[in-house]
C-alpha cells in the first residue's frame, strides 16, 4: 500500500517540477522578448487563449468517452497542470498588474474565478474524498435527503409516542425547539467542511442535560434520539462534502464558457483598436 502512494507522490513532484521548469522558461522568454521590444503581450495573450480553449476541451472530452483521445485520467492530469500554468501566463499577460478597464476587469475576474474554483476543486477532490472515506457510513448523495426524512419521521414517531405515554411536555418542546430544525434540513454545512463538531456536541450535551428533568419513560424515548442525532450529523457531514465535490463545477464550468466568450471579444478589441499590432 505504501509503495503506490510513494510512487504517486513522486510522480506528482515530477509533474510539479516540470511545471516549474516550464514556467521558468516562459518567464525567461517573456523577459527576453520584452527586452528585445517584441510584442510579448500579444504572444502571451494568444498562448493563454489557446490554453484556455484546450482546458475547456476537457469537459468536451468527458462527454465523448468513446473517442480514442487518451484516457480521462491523462486528460485530467494535463488539465490540472496546464491550468496551473495558465495562471502564470495570465499574470505575465497582465504584467502582474491589475486591469483598469471595465471590460478587462470583467475578463480578468472571470479568469480568476475559473482559476481559483479549479484550484479549489482540485483541493476538494483530493482532500474531501479522503475525508469521506474516513468518516463512518457510505451514503449516496441522492439518498441523503430521503434518509434525512426517514430519520425525521423516526424521531417524530418517538416524540409522539412519548406524548401518548406521558403527559409531560419536556420532550415535545425540546423536539420543537431544537430537534425538528436540526432534522428537517442539512445543518452545519461550513462546520463540517472545517471539521468542527462543536454544533452537534452542543446538541448532544443539551440532550444529556435534558435527561435530568425526564422521567424513566421519557428517558427511554430520548435515548435512541441521541443516536439519531449522530446519524443525522453523519448525513450532514457527507452532504456537505459531497455537495461541495459536486457543486464547485457549477462555478468552474459555466464561467469557463463565459470566459471564452469574453476572451473572443477581447481579441477582436485588441486587433480592431490596433494597439498591439501596429
Amino acid at each position: 500500500m505504501a509503495r503506490p502512494v510513494r510512487k504517486r507522490t513522486l510522480q506528482r513532484w515530477r509533474k510539479l517540477l516540470f511545471l516549474l521548469a516550464l514556467a521558468t522558461v516562459l518567464l525567461i522568454a517573456e523577459a527576453i522578448g520584452s527586452t528585445a521590444l517584441l510584442k510579448t503581450g500579444l504572444a502571451t495573450g494568444w498562448l493563454l487563449l489557446v490554453l484556455v480553449v484546450g482546458l475547456a476541451l476537457y469537459n468536451l472530452r468527458k462527454k465523448l468517452p468513446f473517442l480514442p483521445l487518451g484516457s480521462a485520467v491523462t486528460w485530467l492530469q494535463i488539465h490540472i497542470y496546464m491550468g496551473l500554468f495558465s495562471g502564470i501566463l495570465f499574470g505575465l499577460h497582465l504584467q502582474w498588474q491589475l486591469p483598469r478597464g471595465i471590460f478587462e476587469i470583467v475578463l480578468a475576474l472571470l479568469y480568476s474565478v475559473v482559476f481559483v474554483s479549479g484550484v479549489l476543486g482540485l483541493i476538494v477532490s483530493r482532500v474531501f474524498a479522503r475525508r469521506l472515506s474516513i468518516r463512518p457510513g457510505e451514503f449516496l448523495f441522492q439518498r441523503i435527503s430521503p434518509m434525512r426524512h426517514q430519520l425525521l419521521n423516526q424521531v417524530e414517531r418517538l416524540v409522539i409516542r412519548s406524548m401518548e405515554t406521558t403527559e409531560s411536555t419536556g420532550v415535545p418542546e425540546f423536539y420543537a425547539r431544537r430537534l425538528k430544525p436540526f432534522f428537517e434540513r442539512p445543518r452545519h454545512f461550513w462546520h463540517h467542511l472545517v471539521l468542527s463538531n462543536r454544533p452537534v456536541s452542543l446538541l448532544l450535551s443539551e440532550l444529556q442535560s435534558l435527561e435530568r428533568f425526564l422521567n424513566e419513560t421519557e428517558r427511554d424515548v430520548m435515548r435512541p434520539i441521541g443516536e439519531f442525532v449522530k446519524q443525522k450529523d453523519d448525513l450532514d457531514f457527507h452532504f456537505a462534502h459531497q455537495a461541495t465535490l459536486r457543486y464547485w463545477l457549477f462555478v468552474h464550468v459555466p464561467l469557463t464558457y463565459a470566459l471564452l466568450c469574453f476572451a473572443a471579444i477581447h481579441v477582436v478589441l485588441v486587433y480592431a483598436f490596433g494597439g498591439a499590432i501596429s
Binding site: 521590444l37 471595465i102 441522492q142 426524512h149 463545477l249 459555466p254 480592431a272 494597439g275 501596429s278
Partner: protein, 699 residues
C-alpha cells in the same frame, strides 16, 4: 440494495431501485421519501409517473381493508391502495442536468452582457482598457487614436480581421490609418523619421553608430553583458526597421503613468556597445559639458583664483542690490538656476562683470569708430591747425574707412582725393553727396538713409535689418557747436567760413563719457566718429550683428580679401584696438546657414532642440553643504591658470570649432564617478532616461 438492471437511459427504473447512475437526467426524490423506493422512476419529461399510495391496506378476515378508514372505494383487489398521493412526488433534475442548465444560463448571460456592453452608447468607455495619461486627456475622443472606434461590434470584428490581414506599421489598412500614423498626426515635433530608432534616418543612425564605434571600440572583455540581454539582442529590431509607437509607449495605464519609461536593458538591446550600469561600463563624461568652447571668453580659474582675490567687485547680495566683496567667490554671485531648474544662468553683465569691465568698454585709449572722414585742403589745414587739437591716442585712420565705403561708395573709390567728385581744390566741402549724407544724418532722415544702405549693399541683402542700421546712423547726439558747424557745411558754406572754434581737448574728454558721437577736426581731415558709452551699445551691437549675419563663415575664415562692405565694417568694429572691444568677451560662432554668429549670451540654451543628453541643475543644488558647484565642476589648479592670453587682445577670429585647446572655461571635466556616487540603481537611480532622450533632433 444494488440494482441488477439499473435504470433506462431516460432514468426510468426497471426494477425496484433508485435511479442513481451518474448521468441520469432525473431521479425521484420525494416519492422515495414516502415509500422508501421509486418503482418506476420519473418520466423522461421529468414528471413523476409513480404516485405512492396513501396507505397500506391490511388483510382482515380475508378481505383487504383500509388502515385509515377514510377510503370510500377501499383497497384494490390485489390489496394495494386505490388512492394515490396527487402531489407528493416532486421530481428534481440530476446534477449533470442542472450543470448543463447552468452552463447554458452562464453562456446566455455572458453573450447578453457582451451585447449590452458593446451596444450601449457608452460602449467605448466600457471597453476602454483604462484611463488615459493626463497628456492625452485633451483628445476629442477615441477616434483621435483609434480609427475603428466609431463603429459597433460588427465593425470592430471587420476592422480586426482587416487589420490582422493587411495592416502593418508601414502602412494603413482598409480599416483606416494605423496607430503610428494617428500618433504622429499630433506629434509632428518628432519629425518624419519618428518611427525609426531615435527619430533618425537610418543612414544618419548608421553613420552615428560607426562614429561611436570608432571613438570607443567595443571590447568583449569590458562587459560581457547579462545573458538575458545577449539573448534579447538576437531578436532586436533591425536598424532600418520602423518601430510602432506602442513598442515603447503603452497607454491606458492611468493618469499618472509615465509613458516614456523604459528599462536600461531595453535601451541597450539595440546599442552596439553595452554595459552593466552607469557605475560600471558607462563611458566617462569627458566631453559632455565642455564639448564646445564657452560662448563667452571667460576663464573661471583665473577669475576665482586670481582676480577675485585681488580686486574688489560688486555682486548681488540677498536683496539683489549690489554689494562690494573681495575674496573667494560664491558661484551664486554670478549664476542662478532658471525657472525650470534646468540650466544655470548668468546674472548678466551689470550684476556680474560691470564693476571690473565696464570701463574697458568706454576706455578712451582705444580707437573710436570712424564714420565719416573728409580730407581737408592745405588752406583749410593751415587755419585749422591753429585751433584743432588731435586726440593724443588716436592714430591715423585706415586709408579707406569701412563706413565711408558703405555710405559714400563713389567717393571712396577715387585714388586721388583731389580728383574726387565734389571735392574742390580749395578744400571747400561742396560735394553734394557728402552734404546729402550729413543732411540725412543730422535731420534724422532714416528712410533716406535706409535707401542709401540698400543701394550700397544691394537688393539681395535680406538677412540684415537695414531700417535698424539706418536709425543708428541718424540718431546723432553731437555737441551743439559741432552740430551747428556741420549744418553750416551742409548749407554750402566753406569750411574756412565756419567760424566756430574746434572742440577743445577738455571738452572732448568731458563729452566722451556722455556723448557717443564726436566731430574731430585736425589739419588733415574732418572726422565724425562714434564711441560706445557702455555695455550692449546699440550702435555697435546692431552693426556687428549685421556684419556677422552678412558674412560667410568659410570665406571669412579663409580671409580671401574679397570682403563685402558690411564684412569690412565687421572687421573694423571687432578689431582688437577698436573701442568697445565686444569680442574681448563674446565669441564668434557659425550659424546653421553658414554665416558668422556672435554669441551675445552666455547660456547654453538649445532653443527647444531635443538633444540626446539632458541635465537638470535644480535637484542637484539641494544636496547639502558637502556638495557645492565645484564638487562637479572642479576649477583647474592655480598653476594652470593663464592670466593673459594673446588672443584676448588679438583675436584670431577663430570661429567656434569646438576646440577645447582654444578656449576653456577653467574647469576640469566632470568625472563620472562624482555622478555615480549617487546615481546607482539602489539610490538615486541609474536609468538611461534620466540623462538621455530617445527622440532627438537629427540636425
Amino acid at each position: 440494495m444494488p440494482c441488477p438492471l439499473g435504470p433506462t437511459q431516460l432514468g426510468v427504473c426497471q426494477a425496484e431501485c433508485m435511479p442513481r447512475k451518474e448521468g441520469d437526467r432525473y431521479y425521484c426524490d420525494h416519492a422515495s421519501q414516502l415509500t422508501g423506493s421509486c418503482d418506476e422512476g420519473p418520466l423522461p419529461d421529468g414528471s413523476c409517473c409513480q404516485m405512492p399510495p396513501q396507505c397500506e391496506p391490511s388483510k382482515q378476515a380475508g378481505q383487504w381493508a383500509c388502515n385509515r378508514g377514510k377510503c370510500q372505494e377501499g383497497p384494490l383487489p390485489d390489496g394495494s391502495c386505490s388512492m394515490k398521493f396527487s402531489s407528493a412526488c416532486r421530481p428534481v433534475r440530476g446534477t449533470l442536468a442542472m450543470r448543463r442548465l447552468t452552463v447554458l444560463a452562464g453562456l446566455g448571460l455572458a453573450i447578453g452582457a457582451i451585447l449590452l456592453m458593446t451596444g450601449m452608447p457608452s460602449r467605448l468607455a466600457l471597453v476602454s482598457p483604462g484611463t488615459l495619461t493626463t497628456h492625452h486627456q485633451g483628445t476629442e475622443g477615441c477616434q483621435d487614436c483609434h480609427s475603428a472606434s466609431e463603429g459597433q461590434l460588427v465593425d470592430w470584428v471587420h476592422a480586426a480581421f482587416s487589420s490582422s490581414s493587411g495592416s502593418s506599421s508601414a502602412g494603413s489598412s482598409s480599416a483606416g490609418p494605423n496607430q503610428n500614423q494617428l500618433c504622429l498626426k499630433c506629434h509632428t515635433e518628432l519629425g518624419e523619421n519618428a518611427p525609426f530608432a531615435h527619430g533618425l534616418a537610418s543612414e544618419v543612425l548608421a553613420e552615428s553608430t560607426n562614429r561611436m564605434d570608432l571613438a570607443s571600440p567595443s571590447s568583449a572583455d569590458s562587459f560581457a553583458g547579462s545573458l538575458l540581454l545577449q539573448a534579447a539582442r538576437t531578436f532586436r529590431p533591425a536598424e532600418h526597421q520602423r518601430l510602432a509607437c506602442m513598442t515603447c509607449h503603452g497607454e491606458h495605464h492611468g493618469e499618472g503613468f509615465d509613458m516614456t519609461q523604459m528599462t536600461n536593458r531595453e535601451c541597450q538591446v539595440c546599442h552596439s556597445q553595452t554595459f552593466d550600469s552607469f557605475h560600471q561600463g558607462h563611458p566617462e563624461l569627458t566631453k559632455f559639458f565642455y564639448q564646445r568652447r564657452t560662448r563667452l571668453h571667460f576663464n573661471h580659474a583665473s577669475h576665482a583664483i586670481v582676480h577675485f582675490s585681488n580686486f574688489e567687485r560688486s555682486v548681488p547680495n540677498v536683496s539683489e542690490t549690489l554689494a562690494t566683496v573681495k575674496g573667494a567667490p560664491d558661484c551664486a554671485d554670478c549664476h542662478f538656476p532658471d525657472r525650470a531648474g534646468k540650466s544655470m544662468l548668468t546674472r548678466g553683465f551689470e550684476a556680474s562683470c560691470a564693476s571690473c569691465h565696464e570701463h574697458q568698454i568706454t576706455d578712451n585709449g582705444f580707437l573710436p569708430i570712424t564714420i565719416l572722414r573728409i580730407p581737408l585742403s592745405p588752406t583749410a589745414n593751415s587755419e585749422l591747425a591753429a585751433t584743432a587739437e588731435r586726440s593724443p591716442t588716436v592714430t591715423s585712420p585706415p586709408e579707406k574707412d569701412p563706413f565711408m565705403q558703405l555710405l559714400l561708395p563713389d567717393m571712396s573709390e577715387g585714388t586721388d582725393e583731389t580728383e574726387r567728385p565734389g571735392h574742390s581744390p580749395e578744400g571747400v566741402l561742396s560735394n553734394l553727396a557728402v552734404q546729402q549724407l550729413l543732411g540725412e544724418m543730422l535731420n534724422q532722415d532714416h528712410l533716406e538713409m535706409e535707401q542709401r544702405l540698400r543701394v550700397s549693399l544691394g537688393t539681395d541683402e535680406v538677412a540684415v535689418d537695414l531700417s535698424q542700421l539706418a536709425k543708428t546712423l541718424v540718431q546723432i547726439d553731437l555737441q551743439r557747436s559741432d552740430r551747428n558747424n556741420l549744418l553750416k557745411l551742409i548749407a554750402g558754406e566753406s569750411f574756412t567760413a565756419v567760424n566756430a572754434p574746434a572742440t577743445t581737448s577738455s571738452e572732448q574728454t568731458a563729452s566722451a563719457g556722455s556723448s557717443s558721437w564726436n566731430l574731430d577736426r585736425n589739419p588733415d581731415a574732418l572726422t565724425l566718429s562714434y564711441r560706445p558709452t557702455g555695455h550692449a551699445d546699440p550702435f555697435l551691437k546692431a552693426w556687428i550683428e549685421a556684419g556677422a549675419r552678412h558674412t560667410d563663415a568659410t570665406a571669412f575664415r579663409k580671409d580671401s580679401g574679397k570682403d563685402t562692405p558690411l564684412t569690412t565694417v565687421f572687421r573694423q568694429l571687432t578689431g582688437p584696438t577698436q573701442a568697445g572691444r565686444c569680442l574681448k568677451c563674446h565669441t564668434v560662432g557659425e550659424s546653421a546657414d553658414g554665416h558668422l554668429q556672435i554669441e551675445w549670451w552666455a547660456d547654453r540654451s538649445s532653443g527647444g532642440r531635443r538633444e540626446f543628453t539632458r541635465f537638470e541643475h535644480a535637484p542637484h543644488l539641494t544636496l547639502g553643504r558637502n556638495t557645492t558647484c565645484t564638487t562637479c565642476h572642479p576649477i583647474v589648479s592655480e598653476a594652470k591658470v593663464m592670466l593673459f592670453k594673446p588672443e584676448y587682445i588679438h583675436r584670431d577670429n577663430t570661429i567656434n570649432t569646438n576646440d577645447l585647446a582654444t578656449e576653456t572655461s577653467g574647469f576640469h571635466p566632470v568625472e563620472k564617478g562624482v555622478c555615480s556616487k549617487c546615481h546607482q540603481r539602489a539610490t538615486a537611480g541609474d536609468s538611461c532616461l534620466m540623462c538621455h532622450r530617445y527622440h532627438i533632433d537629427s540636425h
